[in-house]
């Protein structure tokens, strides 16, 4: 497999090496602009589609927590001393204290500024959701920059597209939740560490293979923020430590020689920074931890170590406890990540692993001779593997569907970017180079490149656009689409967020005084739906079909019992309507007979 090589593998005569510093800066600026453009475009897309997506269970709880935290921030400004009293802290920050505070604090601040103060958004929920969307923008940006710096701008573009055009990622990116934010913090932290260790510096740069203290400090800061985002971040050392050991093992001799010459410390400064700043920021940004710190830390750890297993269907069976099926993670990735992306990822991954293995097969001296002192391939593979590995263990709960391993996706996308570089080089060699293009070669090549990218992601784009607002019901076309997922017995949805999609039905079929059994919709989520008129405001939610005029069932296998219980109560098994996506039931609605007692 011959292909365009990553920037650091280019021979000494490669243009990048010969480029002057100004050229490098210009390139950096272009990359920054392209990255920001991609991120901004994606966030705009999320904002434009936010109104049509209902509220998930967890969002409802985080809305409530964010409102409480907002009160504390206001108190902090008005009366700092009072805000710092234990009674004030504990009363407010005990809400949802099983999760760190960063995102909920951002939801609160965003709500305070963009809804209450400046009235930027008409919907309170959009203000709550904005930080999560911006985190997705950050993930897109860093994915682009990482891939562009390590491989090529083309690869960067493809990586950003690959990440953004995953239906599940698109769904989660709308939410005021933590799963996309931790994905963004994961890649940001890996990126900062990589830069600190000299990665991403173009050959010829004065900082090549050295990194900088600034990036090391930033890595520590980002690690702290990641810890404060979600507990997945505690797995980051499993990326950095083995990577640092590998680098030390491969380049140790050269580093020692460098130490002798420059008296610089060999230990990666970023690791030291992360070890110091990470826990510090984690504690400083979480007021709940300011009192009874040890006991509350233990409670936090125990909550996640002994987390309840929720029900989730996989291949026709509902799992509710260990052992979790080992095939879950790989099958769900194949079933939910567009196939073109998977193919590109496999090409890219095989390429990088092949090169790595070839280097390892050679003598240690050859290994050390590699130009990439940051050992970026090893870092990417570790950052990809670490979020996935727990899902091969029997005791890891699988109820989150794909969201719990999303931190791996930017790296899957980066390798897909590399895969496209290889595909493009073959296209160039097999097709373009054989065409009589004369003077238009560069222009035709550029148009062909854009066309090839567009064709590659045409399916992913269509599936992602079409998936909204049923992202969790969507399976990729080669798995049969939504109906194929139902055929295979894969989870149809969770969190009860699809209730909003019944609005047209409710508008037409309900009247003032009607009541709805809201089933899997959380109370705060329902309240927000009503408040924002996403469902008719005359509807009153109730907690039992016995009290309701209309009862709904969100289709998940283990929720069949709700269906059957409604049959028992209503003495009928005939739905009044069935909300579908691509012909597959999402919600069944029953209407109580007027003759019912």
């Amino acid at each position: 497999m011959s292909a365009a090589s990553p920037a650091h593998e280019k021979p000494p005569s490669a243009p990048a090496i010969a480029s002057p510093i100004s050229s490098l800066r210009a390139r950096k600026n272009v990359d920054t602009l392209v990255g920001l453009g991609l991120a901004g475009g994606y966030v705009t897309w999320l904002l434009a589609t936010a109104r049509s997506l209902g509220f998930s269970r967890d969002e409802g709880f985080y809305f409530t927590a964010a409102r409480d935290y907002e009160r504390w921030f206001v108190l902090l400004l008005d009366s700092p001393r009072k805000a710092m009293e234990r009674s004030a802290i504990d009363a407010i920050w005990q809400n949802n204290h099983e999760h760190p505070s960063l995102m909920k604090s951002l939801f609160a601040i965003s709500h305070w500024l963009f809804f209450n103060k400046w009235k930027v958004f008409a919907d309170e929920s959009t203000a709550f959701r904005l930080p999560g969307m911006l985190m997705m923008g950050l993930a897109i940006y860093v994915t682009y920059i990482f891939s562009a710096r390590h491989f090529s701008r083309r690869a960067g573009l493809v990586s950003a597209l690959a990440l953004g055009l995953m239906p599940r990622v698109f769904y989660h990116a709308h939410l005021a939740c933590f799963d996309v934010p931790i994905m963004a913090m994961w890649i940001s932290c890996v990126y900062a560490y990589w830069r600190a260790e000299g990665g991403g510096n173009r050959l010829g740069s004065t900082h090549a293979a050295r990194g900088s203290l600034g990036w090391a400090v930033l890595a520590g800061l980002v690690f702290g923020l990641a810890l404060e985002t979600k507990h997945n971040a505690w797995m980051l050392p499993a990326v950095f430590v083995p990577h640092a050991v590998f680098v030390l093992g491969v380049h140790g001799r050269a580093m020692v020689q460098s130490l002798a010459k420059t008296s610089r410390i060999v230990a990666p400064a970023s690791l030291v920074s992360m070890a110091i700043l990470g826990p510090l920021i984690f504690l400083l940004l979480w007021p709940w931890m300011w009192n009874d710190t040890i006991a509350r830390l233990i409670e936090y750890v125990n909550f996640h170590i002994h987390h309840e297993y929720y029900n989730i269907e996989f291949l026709g069976r509902t799992y509710f406890g260990p052992p979790s099926p080992k095939a879950y993670m790989p099958v769900m990735i194949l079933a939910t990540v567009p196939t073109a992306t998977i193919v590109l990822f496999l090409i890219g991954a095989v390429d990088r692993v092949r090169i790595l293995v070839m280097r390892v097969m050679r003598a240690a001296s050859s290994l050390a001779g590699g130009r990439d002192r940051a050992e970026t391939d090893v870092l990417i593979l570790l950052a990809l593997a670490v979020p996935l590995m727990p899902f091969l263990l029997p005791h890891t709960p699988i109820f989150g569907g794909t969201k719990h391993w999303m931190p791996a996706y930017p790296f899957l996308a980066i390798l897909a970017g590399r895969g496209f570089d290889i595909v493009w080089s073959q296209l160039d060699a097999c097709v373009l180079s054989r065409m009589p293009l004369h003077g238009n070669k560069a222009r035709v090549a550029r148009v062909s490149e854009v066309t090839a990218i567009a064709l590659t992601f045409s399916g992913a784009l269509a599936v992602t656009v079409h998936s909204h607002p049923f992202g969790l019901s969507t399976y990729v076309p080669f798995f049969g689409g939504t109906a194929g997922g139902a055929d295979l017995g894969l989870n149809r949805q969770f969190w009860g967020f699809t209730t909003q999609s019944l609005d047209p039905y409710f508008q037409k079929n309900t009247k003032s005084g009607d009541t709805v059994y809201i089933m899997d919709t959380a109370w705060p989520s329902w309240a927000r739906l009503v408040e924002e008129k996403r469902v008719p405001p005359w509807l009153r939610g109730v907690s039992s079909p016995a009290e309701a005029t209309f009862s709904i069932v969100h289709h998940e296998q283990h929720m069949n019992e709700v269906d059957y219980n409604i049959w028992t109560e209503y003495r009928s098994s005939t739905p009044h309507t069935v909300l579908t996506h691509d012909g597959v039931p999402i919600i069944t609605v029953y209407k109580k007979s007027p003759n019912h007692r």
Binding site: M1, N311, F320, P338, T339, A340, V343, I347, F420, I422, V423, Q426, L427, A429, C430, V431, A452, L455, T456, F457, S458, G459, A460, A462, V463, H466, V476, P477, F478, G481, A483, A486, D487, D520, W523, S543, S544, P545, A546, H558, N560, E561, V562, D563, Y564, N565, W567, T568, E569, S572, S573, T574, P575, T577, V578, D582, G583, P585, T588, R597
Partner: protein, 324 residues
């Protein structure tokens, strides 16, 4: 020497050809995206079965089906769509939440996507036709069982009495109550619905018809008999046949965690024991059958004693029984 050269040439030729093939294969990767798009368009347009198509299938079946025919929708996930289109007349609770298929002589399978219900695996296909995206198959049951009396048809104070039996054998009546049921709240799993119409026993527990969600998440209409100790259900004036048959099970959330615990279900009639089913939690929705040739053709009271030592599993235990 010549052989070595030939071999080297051949190897190079093979490598060169495989390299070219790989290069062209890689060049074709963008077509994966195009193929993905094409399949997606098909799946989200022509493959989607519309409400009008469901209604057309219903009209075809309605023209032929009788009240005694079973109607099944395949795949099982399409069941809500089938129920919406076919309604309670063609496909009501009794058919949807049947104990099994043995009492039906004929079945219509309304199928999309080439799916087939495994319940009909042993049935004889009589006919099959295409109606739009549907395959409507008509099947005959090679082993149809004629039901003489069904306990579920007798639930109510007119034909049934329920008592709690204490250790000394003293019976305390459970009173019949009509009203609003308790079909669960917002928490899931929520357990089976407590039916509005039921016998309420002193000290807790009830007997009433509701639907159990079995370990495969399929529904079965049955008689819940809850509470610890022994509950006696007496069904009056039952016509007996050669057999007494039925099924028993517990709600899925109890059934999925097997225990050593058993719930005892003992039948008797004319003061003579008929049979005894010892139900093991975790065994699923299971059938039982007892031979009753000595009672065939007679009419009398059928007595069922349900005994459980655990309130947890007793709360979720139900059964159905019929004479054949």
């Amino acid at each position: 020497m010549l052989d070595t050269c030939k071999r080297t040439y051949k190897l190079r030729h093979v490598l060169s050809r495989s390299g070219t093939l790989l290069a062209w294969t890689l060049s074709a990767v963008p077509l994966v995206g195009v193929a993905e798009l094409a399949v997606h368009i098909k799946q989200t347009t022509s493959d989607v079965v519309t409400e009008a198509q469901w209604n057309a299938a219903r009209d075809v079946v309605k023209a032929e089906a009788t009240d005694d025919d079973l109607i099944l929708f395949a795949p099982f996930w399409a069941d809500p769509l089938g129920r919406r289109a076919f309604g309670d007349t063609l496909s009501g609770i009794k058919k949807e939440a049947r104990a099994d298929e043995s009492r039906f002589a004929r079945a219509f399978e309304v199928s999309i996507r080439g799916a087939h219900r495994r319940e009909l695996a042993q049935w004889r296909k009589v006919s099959e036709r295409q109606v739009g995206p549907f395959t409507i198959g008509v099947y005959e049951n090679p082993a149809k069982k004629k039901i003489l009396a069904d306990v579920l048809d007798e639930v109510g104070p007119e034909r049934m009495t329920v008592t709690r039996v204490d250790a000394s054998g003293t019976e305390t009546p459970c009173g019949w109550q009509r009203g609003v049921g308790q079909p669960g709240g917002l928490a899931v799993p929520q357990g089976p619905a407590v039916p509005g119409d039921r016998f309420v026993c002193p000290g807790g527990g009830y007997v009433g018809a509701a639907i159990v969600d079995d370990d495969e998440h399929h529904p079965h209409l049955c008689l819940f008999a809850t509470g610890t100790g022994t509950t006696r259900i007496r069904v009056h004036n039952v016509t007996f046949g050669e057999f007494l048959a039925g099924h028993a099970g517990v709600q899925w959330m109890t059934d999925r965690s097997p225990t050593a615990e058993r719930i005892e279900l003992a039948f008797s009639a004319f003061d003579r024991p008929i049979g005894h089913h010892s139900h093991k939690v975790g065994s699923g929705w299971v059938s039982f059958e007892f031979s009753t040739p000595e009672f065939a053709g007679k009419r009398g009271d059928l007595v069922a004693n349900v005994t459980s030592s655990s309130s947890a599993s007793a709360r979720h235990f139900c059964f159905e029984a019929n004479t054949r």
